[in-house]
């Protein structure tokens, strides 16, 4: 199937196309505020930004039902937002506030929300593989038709449990999608130094339907995800998407001096030539589906929402220290 026909098959109406633009802008502006909060020492811990990879989360999550599941990663804000998380409750969690998604007990790397099918972001690389595959097991066993998406970076390709659960998923034809975000760097090390052979040969060895996708093209991601998600939903087994993308910032906000592991020119090239939001915006304009003013209006609306969300979180109270012992056991 060609890209154009597949996009048509995925049923991309103008509303969806504009919503994808808005969602990508929301993630970008959310993360810029995270960076700001962090550098102003208002946010404790670590902040791993998703800037540059927005089309992956948005393209895939737009292909999901509200009750579908996902597992996320330490770089997970984008996945949570794309699946429908509320920014003010996200910011509150990032700042360790009682109003946050996890009452301040999880933080940036552990956002979880049953209401949006978010099984939790996981700070063990590959840690979501078992959980997502298990959610797909439940879906099949209970006959709910729900699909689970396991987001992970190419760094997780080094973890054995990923292949163990992929093996189970294919043996038992479980509706789970393994979404490998290849942003090229395992923390501070290029993936060519850590990954032998062809990445796609790995799912192929298990007979899992797999596809390489331009992760900076939100429509292409959405088309590929729609096809593989619906295939899984029909009971035809798991899928694997290898999404080529790029992490604009460092491994975390504090990773500033990074020329020892990747050149500035490479970063510049991705930002100027392959930015997912700019590419999608330009396409919307060139197709006559939106004008520049409309896109700017979306950007400023989202910016206001994010500013209000930050204000809510900054003003929100911390949890009472006495709650530290709560929620250890159900």
């Amino acid at each position: 199937m060609t890209t154009a026909t597949r996009q048509a098959a995925a049923g991309l109406d103008v509303e969806t196309l504009l919503r994808m633009y808005r969602q990508m802008a929301a993630i970008r502006l959310f993360e810029e505020r995270v960076s700001d909060l962090y550098t102003r020492a208002l946010m404790p811990g670590l902040a791993h930004l998703y800037i540059g990879e927005e089309a992956v989360a948005v393209g895939i999550c737009e292909a999901l039902r509200p009750d579908d599941y996902l597992t996320s990663t330490h770089r997970g804000h984008g996945h949570c937002l794309a699946k429908g998380a509320a920014p003010h409750l996200m910011f509150a969690e990032l700042l360790g506030k009682e109003a946050g998604y996890c009452k301040g007990k999880g933080g940036s790397m552990h956002i979880a929300d049953p209401a949006t099918g978010n099984l939790g972001a996981n700070a063990i690389v590959g840690g979501g593989a078992g959980i997502a595959t298990g959610a797909a097991f439940s879906s099949k066993w209970l006959g709910t038709g729900r699909v689970a998406v396991c987001f992970f970076g190419e760094g997780a390709l080094g973890q054995g449990v990923l292949y163990e659960t992929m093996n189970l998923a294919q043996l038992w034809k479980l509706p789970v999608i393994y979404a490998c975000e290849n942003n090229l760097y395992n923390e501070y090390t290029h993936c060519s130094e850590t990954t032998a052979g062809d990445m796609l040969a790995r799912p192929a060895a298990l007979g899992i339907a797999a596809e390489r996708v331009d992760g900076q093209d939100v429509r292409e991601v959405h088309a590929a995800a729609s096809a593989i998600v619906e295939r899984a939903r029909r009971g035809e087994g798991p899928g694997f998407l290898l999404l080529d993308t790029y992490r604009y910032r460092g491994h975390h906000v504090g990773d500033v001096a990074r020329e020892y592991y990747r050149p500035k020119q490479e970063e510049q090239r991705w930002m100027s030539e392959r930015d997912p939001i700019a590419l999608h915006g330009d396409w919307l304009v060139s197709e006559g589906l939106a004008d520049r003013a409309a896109l700017e209006r979306i950007q400023s609306e989202v910016a206001s929402e994010m500013d209000a969300a930050v204000e809510f979180a900054v003003k929100a109270p911390y949890p009472d220290p006495s709650t530290v012992d709560e929620d250890v056991y159900a």
Partner: protein, 333 residues
């Protein structure tokens, strides 16, 4: 024993486990068993024999040899509506699944601010003296007991095994359930045919006594009871207390017993260092120090990898004779 213990039969420890699983599979369609050779083979220990015939391969599910994979899958399944019971053939393989247990299952509820639950049971084994050497003989129940968010159960009798396993399956938390391999066929006892549970977190006094408290776990309960019979012959009355669960730990029952007897020994088959005996001894020392006539003493597995040769292996595990002699010394008799 329950007051309405109708149809009490003698079952082995292994038969009691199987009966608990069969009853829970019948009671709740969300319960599934997952593990290596759990279906037709009925596990390497034959404990699950016959279950697949009644419940089918959708409920009693053979997995690849892939412990982290199927344990991780079970965590996710437990979060999303199932109540999986995972079979980890040898307790030594806890080392393989520890990320799924300690970083995933144990923490999901807390990290999510109480939103997600993990009603998962991990059944595994413990106990040496089967000549299985260093990687198939360890008693690692102290490991999960160290991690907040887990419950850890170590039954010693068929009655406790059935009641505690049913309680574990109905619990909304991840429970690690250790079964002593030697006890499967060797330990027999009365078990009610009907439904009952034993609450998690309540110790049981297996034998009443006046002079010394023997706190013993799992395989060591039979050892302590044997030693208590020997002690009786020399005029020492030993009380045997079985905590039954490592966490939650019934501190009250332990401390009350020691306050009465004024002497305490802790006997456990886990490694002597940094383990169960040290923890329980400290609970007693912290709460009953002024009632004690002497220091709390401990017996545990020797701090060596479990050796193969029978003469070497037998030197690593506490025996009735070891308990008897140490208790006599503690009682100055």
């Amino acid at each position: 024993m329950p007051e309405t213990a109708t149809a009490l039969r003698e079952l082995t420890f292994g038969e009691a486990i199987r009966e608990a699983l069969a009853e829970e599979l019948r009671r709740d369609p969300r319960v599934v068993l997952l593990g290596e050779d759990v279906a037709e083979a009925g596990t390497a220990f034959k404990v699950l024999k016959g279950l697949v015939e009644e419940f089918g391969k959708d409920r009693v599910i053979d997995t690849p040899i892939s412990e982290p994979g199927f344990t991780g899958l079970a965590v996710g399944a437990a979060m999303t509506g199932m109540r999986p019971v995972v079979d980890i053939m040898f307790g030594d393989f806890m080392a393989l699944i520890m990320d799924q247990v300690a970083n995933q299952a144990a923490k999901v509820h807390y990290m999510s601010g109480g939103k997600w639950k993990v009603p998962l049971v991990i059944r595994t084994t413990m106990g040496a003296t089967r000549r299985s050497a260093a990687q198939h003989s360890q008693s690692l129940h102290a490991w999960p007991s160290h991690i907040p968010g887990l419950k850890v159960v170590v039954p010693s009798t068929p009655y406790d095994a059935k009641g505690l396993l049913k309680a574990a399956i109905r619990d909304d938390n991840p429970v690690v359930f250790f079964e002593d391999k030697i006890s499967y066929a060797k330990v027999k006892g009365p078990v009610p045919a009907g439904d009952y549970t034993v609450p998690i977190g309540v110790a049981d006094v297996k034998r009443l006594g006046r002079d010394i408290t023997l706190v013993a776990t799992s395989s060591m309960v039979q050892v302590a009871l044997g030693a208590a019979t020997m002690l009786e012959e020399v005029g020492i009355s030993a009380e045997v207390v079985d905590p039954r669960t490592m966490w939650p730990l019934d501190e009250t029952t332990l401390v009350e017993s020691v306050r009465k007897t004024s002497r305490a020994m802790v006997v456990d088959e886990g490694y002597y260092r940094y383990g169960v005996t040290g923890e329980i001894a400290s609970v007693i020392a912290e709460n009953a120090f002024y009632d004690l006539d002497g220091p709390v003493r401990r017996l545990g597995a020797r701090h060596v990898p479990v050796p193969f040769s029978p003469v070497l292996e037998d030197a690593t595990v506490p025996t009735e004779r070891d308990v008897f002699e140490l208790a006599r010394k503690m009682c100055n008799r």
